[in-house]
Symmetry: C2
Subunit: 321 residues, 2 copies
């Protein structure tokens, strides 16, 4: 298993993803309780809020209160999400509590860009040019590229490696033009189309084209493939993964309501630890945090492991016997 | 991807597994409806009933009526499960509708054997000696070995490859002694402990020891690893898999009720077909059968894909656009 990395970095996106999509109002206190529980599991990076227009995303009308309210833990990085200069300014008001760095976001599928961002490829690059300028004006580095819809698109079907590379090339050219030093390319399976062979092809091609970049995977479990795709990433040495506790989040692009969203953090952690890849996360503590998330949202979360439980207690009992 | 098999054989165990574990009474007609729906998906082998003591498993008190009632479809093999001579005789009453072949079952974990079968390794071999004799007396070939608990055990913890090989050696010796020609070794993750690296180790070791045997995998998704484990099997050329529509079945050994059971057939089919491995199964028809299974049992089944849906309609729409 020598190709596996020694350790991985997981970004927990459960609070942001989960509280964005849940229909019911969830109190600020409960959001903070989940963030504080996740902080105690060994996770090193947690996305805690989305500074978006409260008229568009009512679930995040209390972003400021949540960010002001959680208890920062030594060694844990807290991040937020924003899409425009107003969101960036709201984020920067908490720069003592949040790590603030920007991304250039592009879509491998032009159809997805048009449907989701209301802009074609050229329009998206133009929008990102302004986005980068706003960050630079605020003194915020832009060090990451996010490639959406890299594995398939509900609107245009299968996405080729060439399409992903073309979109990345556009983003890289913009980074060069604007003087951004890109350190990471995050490849997202935005609509849950990926299979492990495709992860191999896309990650392989991106790594070959950009050998100095760190690669991250943002996987969705819409069709149950997320853990197998993460394993494909691990076998290629990918060290950075996004995930959500309990599989919080759902997928707005799935055929049916209630479809799984992001890969469940506990399943990713379990996979890694069983393979000998260190995560720094206590999977049993994480399962408890995911159970809290389930209690907070008030319905079953999609994680299989949240039902199945970990192996820690069985192993401890077996050792004691 | 040259190591992948060209095609796989899937044994659908949903009816037998599902109706065994569900608490509510399910009518014979509904069981038959599911079997007939599954027969129309392209699946080539379906386990339709369990001839067990109705006092122990009330859900299968109607095994005879179910087997008499389904509509056999050309090209589909129907099988059943039994554990003792009485069950074998009940099965043989339907030998015009069922393929009847026997297995030698052993456990890699002696603790599991003691807890689940109430016999140690030696006692299990002795019981299997009688089991084989009963089959031979009835003219039924015994051509398969089932290795339970090959990846871990809730009672004794991790299971080593050496333990699996030792249990297999015992079963093989019995087969030789009794003149059985073994054609397949089915390796079962009875309690959901497997990870893909372990599948590689166990399958690799079994294949090295018994290069002429077909290998099958019986995977459980208790901790969300089943698809990644199946992918590990595919990469090693394993061509035979058990699965259950919708993930029917649950796991009596999991920490919590409602834990996922077997790998969901639709997720296995989707994985294979996306990788270019032929299954012969129409995944959209299968999803419809799984939705019927969900309606019959009256609660959500664990399959992610049953929520997320297939990609067929998206691809068709993209092609038409």
């Amino acid at each position: 298993m020598s190709d596996l990395p020694e350790s991985v970095d997981i970004t927990e996106e459960g609070p942001r993803e989960g509280f964005q999509i849940e229909p019911g109002p969830i109190s600020t206190e409960r959001k903070i309780a989940l963030i504080d529980a996740l902080s105690a599991t060994g996770l090193k990076r947690i996305q805690v809020a989305s500074f978006v227009n409260p008229k568009m995303v009512p679930g995040w009308a209390d972003a400021e209160a949540v960010v002001a309210g959680f208890t920062p833990r030594e060694g844990v990085e807290y991040i937020a999400l924003w899409f425009n200069p107003a969101g960036l300014q709201r984020t920067l008001a908490f720069k003592d509590r949040l790590t603030v760095k920007g991304s250039i976001t592009v879509s491998a599928s032009e159809a997805f860009s048009l449907k989701n961002l209301n802009r074609d490829h050229a329009g998206q690059i133009e929008a990102m040019r302004k986005h980068v300028a706003a960050h630079q004006a605020a003194g915020v580095p832009v060090n990451r590229i996010s490639l959406m819809a890299a594995f398939g698109c509900n609107f245009s079907g299968d996405v080729t490696v060439a399409q992903s590379l073309a979109a990345l090339a556009g983003a890289m050219a913009l980074a060069k033009e604007t003087g951004c030093t890109i350190e990471k390319i995050a490849i997202a399976d935005s609509m849950g189309w990926a299979n492990p062979a495709q992860v191999e092809r896309v990650v392989g091609a991106v790594r070959e084209r950009y050998p100095d970049q760190r690669i991250g995977l943002h996987l969705h479990d819409t069709r149950g493939m997320a853990v197998a795709c993460a394993h494909a990433g691990l076998r290629l040495g990918v060290r950075e993964y996004d995930a959500t506790a309990g599989g919080l989040g759902g997928c707005p692009f799935a055929a049916h309501p209630g479809a799984p969203g992001n890969i469940a953090t506990e399943e990713l952690v379990f996979l890694c630890e069983e393979l000998g890849v260190r995560t720094g996360v206590d999977v049993e503590a994480l399962l408890a945090a995911s159970a809290l998330a389930e209690e907070i949202v008030g319905h079953a979360l999609p994680s299989a492991m949240l039902r199945g439980g970990g192996l820690g207690s069985y192993r401890a009992r077996a050792r004691a016997a």
